[in-house]
């Protein structure tokens, strides 16, 4: 049973089909990936070094942009990948310079378990 799955030869990430631990070495698609941190089942691991600003590619298509440098073997998820779509937050930051009234705290800053964050 494969522990990692690569969908397209163009992909720079693989999907973990079971949980992986730091130090695991997994062969996939002709590569040996040294897992650098724990990867939950279903989550992604970098196959190669991905520079900040570079596209993260799965299914042979970009799924977002690295928001920080990602080394091969690292966990690739919301903490280091930014979506390029539906980013009204960026549009607002770019267009509004006036003072804003107090807003509810950003749920990302509250350190809640993901399941309890409200959209």
């Amino acid at each position: 049973v494969n522990r990692l799955l690569v969908i397209s030869p163009n992909d720079n990430v693989a999907t973990a089909l079971e949980s992986l631990s730091s130090g695991d070495v997994v062969s996939v698609a002709g590569r040996r990936v040294s897992v650098a941190e724990s990867i939950p089942r279903g989550h992604k691991v970098a196959l190669v070094d991905i520079a900040a600003g570079q596209a993260v590619v799965k299914y042979g298509s970009p799924i977002g942009v690295a928001s920080a440098p990602i080394d091969a073997g690292m966990h690739v998820h919301t903490h280091n990948v930014a979506s390029a779509r539906g980013r009204g937050d960026l549009a607002r930051a770019a267009t509004s310079s006036e003072l804003r009234i107090a807003e509810p705290p950003d749920s990302d800053a509250l350190d809640l378990p993901v399941a309890e964050k409200q959209p």
């Binding site: 049973v1 494969n2 799955l5 969908i7 999907t15 973990a16 089909l17 939950p40 089942r41 279903g42 989550h43 992604k44 993260v56 799965k58 299914y59 298509s61 970009p62 799924i63 977002g64 690739v76 998820h77 919301t78 990948v81 930014a82 979506s83 390029a84 779509r85 539906g86 980013r87 009204g88 937050d89 960026l90 549009a91 607002r92 509004s96 749920s107 993901v114 399941a115 309890e116 964050k117 409200q118 959209p119």
Partner: protein, 391 residues
Amino acid sequence: MSAAPSFRGYRRPDGRVGTRNHVLLVPTVICASVVAERIAAAIAPVGTVVPHQAGCGQLGPDLRVTHDTLAAYCQHPNVGTVLVVALGCEQVVAQHLADVARRAGKHAEIIAIQNEGGTVRATDKGIGIARHLAAALESDAREVCPASSLVLSVKCGGSDYTSGLASNPVLGRVADRIVDAGGSVVIGEIAEIMGAEQLLAVRAETPMVAARLIQIVNRVEGEAMALGLDIRGTQPSPGNIRGGLTTIEEKSLGATHKAGERSRLADVVPYAAPILQRGLTVMDTPGLDVESVTGMVAGGAQVVVFTTGLGTPTGNPIAPVIKTTGNARTALSMADNIDLDVSGVITGTESIDAAADRLFDELMAVASGRPTASERLLHREFAIHRRNPTI
């Protein structure tokens, strides 16, 4: 398989084919929903109901969508006869709904709560009528019908990493086979096409169809922009993110697999509008599961295949919803709700094509009357999409 695929369905006078033969209770307005639900319950499971929150206090486009959605259910081929339950003072017109059903060749009746003298009398009278309607349907028989008469709705919900790797590609193979047979497939959830729209657009039959797809995806993205919010946290949802999906692009690329890999994109239609083209149609629905399925069934889908990773129970009042998962844990932990386990695609014990053969067989069996998990559990969720405030 060499013979043209077929199933046993109900041929309707308007030429469409039903996979079910329900007595449909239609409240014109939220105020009539409880009476309609009680009448339907008295003749369950043949009796079914489309309870809703609307029918009054709506303006322009929303009133139109409420009306058109209810009318579409009244003429749907999975419905044998219709009993409209009115209050008496609402905006949605009972007579119009009954007329639509009659024009489709169905028997339709109306009761109005204000005319009957309240809840108890209206419920009693309605149950009496509904029992007669149900009895009259018992002599209807299924006939062999070609798969070309099917409109298959493809849907995913509660997605995780297995959805894009297993259940959606499996469903995509089945969708292509329905189109090959001359049938129709409809996919909704525009937000979950965002990031994968170019892959669908290149399959469009005409540049105009491609342009309409891009236009509605841009509109939905623009709505997130106008709110000044990042859609992540809504798309993908917290559960999706926990399941390993990082961005809407990733979710969309996995989700669009369920629309097949090669069939042409024939049409792009508004919410709840009739699906008139053979081949693949995109319907402009929100990502919320029940609103999306409600709209696609209104469009004419007689059967829904719904892929899930994390597991979800929802069904539809008139169309069977087949739940399939690529997550072996979900197949066990939510066995009540799952019709087909394709997790062998993930573990390497089954090919995508072999799983697609099983799903296709299940689809034909369900279209011929085999109950789905959601039907056995009487999951009959119904929600009409609305965009504007209630006045």
